[in-house]
């Protein structure tokens, strides 16, 4: 976390919490500026008339990927210090679907519900209560879910490892996927744009 400065000992563990706080505020700020404090904007994604969520998120992925790749190549960032979550295929598919359903039903994902709540939206606040209740239920029922939760373990897997491809090639493929996605998103938005009489 907090690469590259942490690696060089520019600050300790306590200061890194402050840095994390500042980064969190920045994250929330940009989510808000992208319009993601509004459930209408977020759910437009699923009606295919405004794919801003897709575009913003994929832009962030490509920016972070290129930044990490080049800073590591230059020796400024130590990529092996970046913590990876282990890949647990089946529980992560199930979790992704569950999060997607929650997103469609509630109009937010966890991060954007925080943004909505701090900008004074009641639905965001209610959503956070739901998230908290869900975390509690999950935590209390964890002994029952533990077997599934730990199933399909592939370890700390990256795309270059999974597909046996050179790292740089994966970077290029993800960039191409993003650019293709942006063009496709533009086409989809024009195709599904609400007609004037619908408002």
């Amino acid at each position: 976390m907090n690469a590259p400065f942490h690696k060089f000992g520019a600050f300790g563990d306590e200061a890194s919490l402050v840095v994390a706080f500042v980064i969190g505020i920045g994250f929330g700020f940009f989510l808000e500026r992208a319009g993601f404090g509004s459930a209408r904007k977020l759910t437009s994604q699923f009606y295919l008339d405004d794919l801003a969520v897709f575009k913003v998120m994929f832009t962030a992925i490509v920016t972070a990927m290129l930044g990490l790749f080049y800073l590591s190549w230059l020796g400024i960032v130590d990529l092996s210090l970046v913590d990876l979550v282990t890949t647990n295929l089946w529980p992560q598919i199930a979790g992704g679907l569950l999060l997607g359903f929650g997103f469609v039903i509630g109009g937010y994902c966890p991060g954007t519900s925080m943004v909505a709540a701090v900008t004074g939206r009641i639905d965001g606040l209610i959503f956070i209560l739901g998230v908290t209740a869900g975390v509690w239920v999950f935590g209390e029922s964890f002994p029952l879910l533990k077997g599934f939760y730990e199933s399909g373990d592939f370890g700390k897997l990256t795309l270059p490892q999974a597909f046996h491809l050179p790292y740089g090639l994966v970077v290029l493929l993800v960039v191409l996927m993003a650019l293709g996605g942006f063009m496709g998103a533009g086409w989809v938005e024009r195709r599904f744009a609400p007609r004037p009489e619908e408002g």
């Binding site: 490509v62 290129l66 990490l68 790749f69 080049y70 590591s72 190549w73 020796g75 130590d78 990529l79 092996s80 210090l81 913590d83 370890g155 700390k156 050179p166 790292y167 740089g168 090639l169 970077v171 290029l172 993800v174 960039v175 191409l176 993003a178 650019l179 942006f182």
Partner: protein, 224 residues
């Protein structure tokens, strides 16, 4: 945006081309640094001199009992030795496999071997590859046997020492060891011949009724 309309490409297109260019250039690079290492001799010497790179067997025993998960315990001995006995939670990583073993540079890694030589060498390998959290189990498996599994009671224990040893005995039993009871040491103290004979380092550990496996471990002295 009037200015954007005059430009040949929109900002989005320029950013897209930039990303594409960086993606193509990425084909030539590799973000990982491989197995080559960089050594800051002064820094390493300071760490060794201040002995901050040690974990004592008792500390490790506490972590295991607490169920701590913030460390990786690496057994550097041969697979057959690992199969015979290893400290609970240890991972089997013969030293030759260490450079390719998936460890995180942000993890707390405790190394142990039979004595201390292999773990010290492995520590140096990890430190040179900038694994910040590499530690050596003080005394290796021998230290673990001496301090945790088969602790020797103090000869003339003060009440505090006796209480402390009571706790040590509990830890020992937790790990299936066999501590010698305090009464043994008082009995030994009463026997002048025993008390006067300084035990050589190797036999410092009493030979308690141990399982055959553990006794074999203790007898094994060669290598590290």
């Amino acid at each position: 945006m009037p200015t954007a309309a005059k430009r040949r490409f929109s900002t989005n297109q320029i950013l897209g081309f930039a990303a594409l260019g960086l993606g193509v250039l990425a084909l030539a690079g590799n973000p990982y640094q491989g197995h080559s290492v960089h050594v800051d001799a002064k820094e390493l010497a300071t760490i060794v001199g201040t002995e901050v790179d040690h974990v004592t067997p008792k500390e490790l025993a506490d972590w295991i009992i607490r169920g701590a998960t913030d460390y990786r315990l690496i057994d550097l001995r041969r697979p057959e030795e690992y199969a015979q006995y290893h400290i609970p939670t240890a991972e089997e990583v013969p030293i030759a496999r260490l450079p390719d073993y998936p460890l995180g540079r942000n993890e707390k890694i405790v190394l142990y071997s039979e004595g201390g030589i292999h773990s010290a060498q492995a520590w140096f390998l990890l430190k040179a590859q900038r694994f910040a959290g590499a530690y050596i189990l003080l005394g290796g498996l021998e230290g673990w046997n001496d301090e945790v599994l088969y602790p020797t009671p103090p000869l003339h224990p003060s009440p505090q020492e006796a209480a402390a040893f009571e706790r040590t005995m509990q830890v020992s039993r937790f790990f299936g060891g066999a501590p010698r009871a305090l009464t043994d040491s008082t009995a030994r103290a009463a026997n002048p011949t025993l008390a006067l004979t300084p035990a050589p380092p190797v036999t410092r550990v009493p030979a308690p009724p141990v399982s055959p496996v553990a006794r074999q471990k203790k007898a094994k002295k060669e290598g590290c």
